[in-house]
Symmetry: C2
Amino acid sequence: MAEASAMGTSGEAMAAADGSSGPAGLSLGRGFSNYRGLVGGQEEAAPEAGLPAGLATEAGPIPTLPALGIGMDSCVIPLRHGGLSLVQTTDFFYPLVEDPYMMGRIACANVLSDLYAMGITECDNMLMLLSVSQSMSEEEREKITPLMIKGFRDAAEEGGTAVTGGQTVVNPWIIIGGVATVVCQPNEFIMPDSAVVGDVLVLTKPLGTQVAVNAHQWLDNPERWNKVKMVVSREEVELAYQEAMFNMATLNRIAAGLMHTFNAHAATDITGFGILGHSQNLAKQQRNEVSFVIHNLPIIAKMAAISKASGRFGLLQGTSAETSGGLLICLPREQAARFCSEIKSSKYGEGHQAWIVGIVEKGNRTARIIDKPRVIEVLPRGATATAFAPDSSNASSESSL
Amino acid sequence: MAEASAMGTSGEAMAAADGSSGPAGLSLGRGFSNYRGLVGGQEEAAPEAGLPAGLATEAGPIPTLPALGIGMDSCVIPLRHGGLSLVQTTDFFYPLVEDPYMMGRIACANVLSDLYAMGITECDNMLMLLSVSQSMSEEEREKITPLMIKGFRDAAEEGGTAVTGGQTVVNPWIIIGGVATVVCQPNEFIMPDSAVVGDVLVLTKPLGTQVAVNAHQWLDNPERWNKVKMVVSREEVELAYQEAMFNMATLNRIAAGLMHTFNAHAATDITGFGILGHSQNLAKQQRNEVSFVIHNLPIIAKMAAISKASGRFGLLQGTSAETSGGLLICLPREQAARFCSEIKSSKYGEGHQAWIVGIVEKGNRTARIIDKPRVIEVLPRGATATAFAPDSSNASSESSL
C-alpha cells in the first residue's frame, strides 16, 4: 500500500505508444496510456473542469440505517455490524500557498472538514495521498516533501487521528490530499437533511480565501496588480493572505462538536463551489420543503473590493471558490446566537469565529443570496483596525478578535 | 466530496508566483505552488522514484486487537466499537494499457488486491480517485473517462462492493486509483505474520506483466524492438500483452476466500517491487524465525526471454515490477497442492491459476530466489502450444488452460 506502483511510476512502462497497436476494437486513435507524458496550458481552467459529478449517482442498497452517496460531503455506508456506519471522504488538490508545511495542514483540514460537516468529531484513520513533482530537484523534494507531510500529520493529530498509510507517486504537479474514515454509532453523526422553516444559518469561517491567494500572487504580476491596486494596499494583501492561510489550516472540529450541543439540523462545508453552490447543494438534500436565504457575507477585509475591481471570482455572488472553508450550519433560531458566542469562547483556544448569515424559509429546496447582502469585513488577526481603510458603502467592519 | 476542489483545479489560483512573496522564514527560493505547472522528462524513472516508504513509520496506539501500519498491503486499525477492525488501502497510478475500460478494471483490481492479501473477501466501500488529462480534447475526455469509470465500477461490482464517492481533478497525466475500506470481525482477516518452517509458497498469477506491457509498446519502436525480435515474434507479444491485461484485471477474491479454506499463514500481493521485493517484505513481517526460498517462477510465455534479451526488468531476479499481480500465500505443505487444484476448478469460473513457487525454511526473515530457478512458461489463453517456440534451457512449458 505504501509503495508506489512501479509500473505507474516507471516512465518506461508508460512511454508513448501512439495507439496504433492497441487491441482491436478497443484501442483509441491516440495512445491512451500516452496521457501520462503530455502537458498543456489551461492556465485559467474553471473550477468545474474537475468533472464535479462525474463519478456516480447511486449508492447501492439502502437498509434501515441512513445512507448518503455522492453529492454531499461524506459518504455514509451502513455496515454489516451492529448498527454501525462507515463515514468516509476523500479530497486532493494542488498547492495554493507558498508554504509547504501550511499546505500540508490545509490539505488535512480540508479532508477532515467533510467529516466535521456531518457533526463527526472523531476520525479513525487517515490515509495521505501525495505526488511529488518530477521537475523538482532532489534537493527541493527533500526540503519540501517532509514539510508537507509534517503539516498534514500535525493537523491529523490535532484532529485526534493518525496517518497510517497512503500512496505517493511522481507527477508533473504536486498533489496533496487524503482519505478520512470513521466508523460511527448513529448518535455520532448528524444527517444533513433536517432543516426546518425558521432555522438560522451560521458560517464558521470568513469567505475570500481564493481571492486572497490570487491577490497575493498578483503582487508579482504588474498587469494584474494594476487592476486592483486602487482598492487595496500591498500590506493589506499580505495580511489577508496570512489570514486566509490561517483559516484554511484551522480544523472545523470545534464547530462539529458544537453542532451536537446546539442541536444542528444540517450542515455542509464551504469549498470549491462557494457559499452559494454549497448552500444550494445542502438545500436540495432537505426532507422538508425549505429554502435558504443568505443575507450576510463575512469576508476577509478588502477581498470583496478586490473581487469587484478584478471582475473575477464572484465573491459577492457567492460563487468564489473557497478551500477548507467554514461550516454552514442550520441551527434552531434560539440556538444560533449561543452557538456563535460559545465558539468564540476562550476555552476553545483562539481563532474560532461564527456569524449568522441567513435564514431557512418555506421553499422548494433552493438557495439564494439577497440582492444587496451585507458584507461583514473581517479584519485579519495581524491587522489594526485603522490600517484598513473603509471599503464600499454596504460593508460593515468587524474585528475577528 | 465528489466535487473537485475548485482552487485546486483552477489554474488561476495555482499560477506561478515565483516564490518571492512567501511568508518570511518558510518560503522557498522557487515558488512551491508553482509545481503545478511544470513538466520535465524522467522517462526512465525507477519504480522506487515513488518514495515508497516516505509516508509513515508508526501506527498509533495498539490495543489488544492486531494493528498494521505502513509497510504491508493494508492498514488494520482497531476500532472503538465491539472488537471490530477497520482495514483500508489506497493505490493510484497511471495508465499502462491502451484500453481505458480494462485500465479501469485493472486499477480497481489492484486496489482490492490489498484487501484480498489479508484474506478479506468483502469490501464495504470503494472511493475512486481520478484525474483526467488537461491535454485531452473534450471529445477524448468524453470518450475515455466513462470507459475508465465503467471498468472500475464493473470490477468493484465483481468484488461485491460499490463506488460511492471519490475525487476527480484535471492533471497533466491521467491518474486512476481508489480507496477500499472494510470493517471486519477478527475471523474475517488473516494477519500476514504466521508462516512456519515447512510451509509452502503459492503464487496465483504468472509474472511478467511489466515486460509484456513494455514489449507491446516496443512493437512501434524499431530501436527497442530490434533488441528483442530474435527471441520473440510480434504475435507472441500481442498474445502476452492480452494475457497480462486479462490477469491484471482479474480479482484475487477467489484466492482470498481459499486462504481461509486451506488455513493460510500469511500472504501478500505482488506489485511494484516484484516477487522478490514483496517476498522480502512479507518475510520481515513474520513472528517466527523463517525465511522464504523461491524455486519456481511462473512467467507469461516468452517474457523471461525478453527480459534477458533487453537487459532490463530483472524478471528472473524477481525484481521486475508487476501491476495487480497474484497473491503469494504461505500455506501448510499438505494444503498447498489442494489449494492449487481447487482454484482451477470450474466452479470459480475460468482463468484462475496457482503454482507452488517456494518453501519456508528456518532463517532470519529474509527472502531469496535460488540460483537457477525453474521458469514455468505460462502460455497465454489465446495461444496454441505449437505457436510458441521453446525458449531457454531451464524453462518448462505449462499451458494455463
